[in-house]
């Protein structure tokens, strides 16, 4: 096992990702400490989502290294070895992801959505999985929706189920991919409140978002991406109020004048 990262929870070194001719990530370097909340901003197409999907190997990078808890999870990136070359199990049991479109399993109730993977992957007993799932759904404020199917839930409720589902695997890092972008404005707060709570409990989080207020308030670090590179990163107040780079200024100007 290659060791590097110096105690960082997550460390990306020169990560590249291509889709055919299109190079979506062009050398990303990023350190995330344990318990840190990193908010990633940037225009659409800048590679924010792809970055998250690289971290949990849904889209393994072609080049570069990713260290998770000091373990190189994609050694030999770019070799045609298929999934065998990557530490899929190691990653998937430590990194949870929540998607913009929720992706709940429609044929299963809220509670079954949360208990499925712990039962099948972690081999937990049904009782244990249900007890834990119930507690998690209570934690996201859905104690009264355990038996509901996703299509009976509002977008905000569905997204909170999706968060509980990811938490049920006891992740060490949580990735949030524009989790409020598909929600009606009045439902955004209930989801962000769950994220705030998680952050205050010390969860390590990578949050791709367009919610500037959230980034400023909850983020320990803000990263601004454009065209596949990190243009600027730093404390929220520095990046959001006193951006150094011209591209960051332009983007923030466009977003804030809405």
């Amino acid at each position: 096992m290659q060791v590097s990262g110096g105690g960082a929870m997550l460390r990306l070194e020169n990560v590249h990702k291509r889709f055919g001719q299109l190079e979506v990530l062009r050398g990303i370097n990023l350190d995330v400490r344990r318990g840190e909340v990193v908010c990633i901003l940037g225009p659409s197409g800048s590679g924010k989502s792809t970055l998250l999907r690289c971290v949990n190997l849904l889209e393994p990078p072609e080049e570069g290294e990713i260290f998770l808890e000091d373990k190189d999870i994609c050694r030999g990136a770019g070799t045609p070895s298929g999934e065998g070359g990557w530490q899929l199990d190691f990653v998937r049991q430590r990194v949870g992801i929540v998607f913009q479109q929720f992706n709940l399993f429609p044929q299963k109730t809220a509670l079954e959505n949360v208990t499925l993977a712990p039962e099948k992957v972690l081999k937990r007993s049904r009782e244990e999985a249900r007890a834990k799932g119930t507690a998690l759904l209570e934690r996201v404020g859905l104690a009264d929706k355990l038996g509901e199917y996703p299509d009976r839930l509002s977008g905000g409720q569905q997204q909170r189920v999706a968060i509980a589902r990811a938490l049920a695997m006891d992740p060490h890092v949580m990735l949030f991919d524009e989790v409020t972008s598909a929600l009606d404005p009045e439902l955004v707060k209930e989801v962000l409140d769950v994220l705030r709570k998680l952050a205050s409990e010390g969860m390590t989080m990578l949050v791709v978002t367009h919610e500037m207020g959230f980034a400023r308030e909850v983020g320990d670090k803000v990263v601004f991406m454009d065209e596949g590179v990190i243009v600027e990163q730093g404390k929220p107040a520095d990046v959001l109020d006193n951006p150094r780079e011209e591209r960051t200024k332009r983007f923030l100007g466009l977003v804030l004048e809405r």
Binding site: L58, R92, V95, F99, F105, Q107, L116, D151, R152, A162
Partner: protein, 247 residues
């Protein structure tokens, strides 16, 4: 007009031969149910083999696609004749080459084999359409929770896919049921074969008409059921429609 009625709808002919025709139809039903169940299973297996991801499974995918294309392109009748005419001469155990399982004649099992081989290929395509209709985010969500490809297929994708394709699968089953009559050419006493024997002796087609009516008794309700399932599936995606209970 009288000739039409006496040739095709002679009630005394029908009642005289009802028992024989009905016995033939029972064989038709048995053949349909056994071959139908096996084809449903075989088709699912083929569609799953076809979906195996990654480079190591490329040969499996290739062979599966070739199988599906070949057997969708060959007439069922030819498959029946190929099996019944030569299987008995192959260097395999008699239990396979001249099967008499469950007390049924070998021609019955040759029919089951041919129907399963052919309709498995058709149904694999139906399953594939269902699997591809499940949004990719479902597989991603399952994989991101640590499930293997197989676990994700079994617990997440296939249950949704099957629900989407119940109606088209039933359609294929109706087609399979009608095609069981082709097995009559290798002298299995299914309903068409029985009807044809009577037709040859009596110079009258009413017994065959009776067989056709027996088919309709089964296929018409099935066709209505298919329609109902389709409209139900569509209403699930219609805005504002009441939620339909899962099948």
């Amino acid at each position: 007009m009288n000739e039409i009625i006496s040739q095709y709808f002679d009630l005394s002919e029908m009642s005289k031969h009802f028992d024989e025709v009905f016995d033939g139809f029972v064989i038709t039903l048995e053949l349909s149910l056994i071959a139908g169940a096996l084809a449903l299973l075989w088709g699912l297996i083929l569609s799953l083999l076809r979906q195996l991801p990654g480079r190591p499974f490329l040969p499996v995918r290739f062979v599966t696609i070739a199988y599906i294309d070949v057997f969708r392109g060959i007439p069922l009748l030819i498959i029946i004749l190929l099996i019944s005419g030569s299987l008995a001469f192959l260097p395999l155990p008699d239990a396979i080459t001249i099967p008499h399982w469950l007390g049924k004649p070998d021609t019955f099992w040759y029919g089951v084999m041919a129907l399963t081989i052919t309709y498995g290929a058709y149904m694999a395509e139906v399953y594939r359409a269902g699997i591809e209709a499940v949004p990719g985010g479902q597989m991603e969500a399952a994989r991101s929770l640590g499930m293997s490809h197989g676990q994700a297929m079994r617990n997440v994708v296939v249950p949704q896919a099957v629900r989407k394709v119940i109606a088209p699968l039933l359609n294929d089953f109706i087609a399979l049921m009608k095609d069981t009559t082709l097995v009559g050419v290798i002298a299995l006493n299914e309903v068409a074969h029985v009807g044809r024997d009577i037709q040859g002796e009596a110079f009258n087609s009413s017994a065959l008409t009776l067989g056709a009516i027996m088919f309709l008794v089964v296929t018409l309700p099935l066709a209505r059921l298919v329609d109902k399932l389709i409209s139900r599936e569509q209403s699930r995606f219609t805005r504002g429609a009441p939620r339909v209970e899962a099948l």
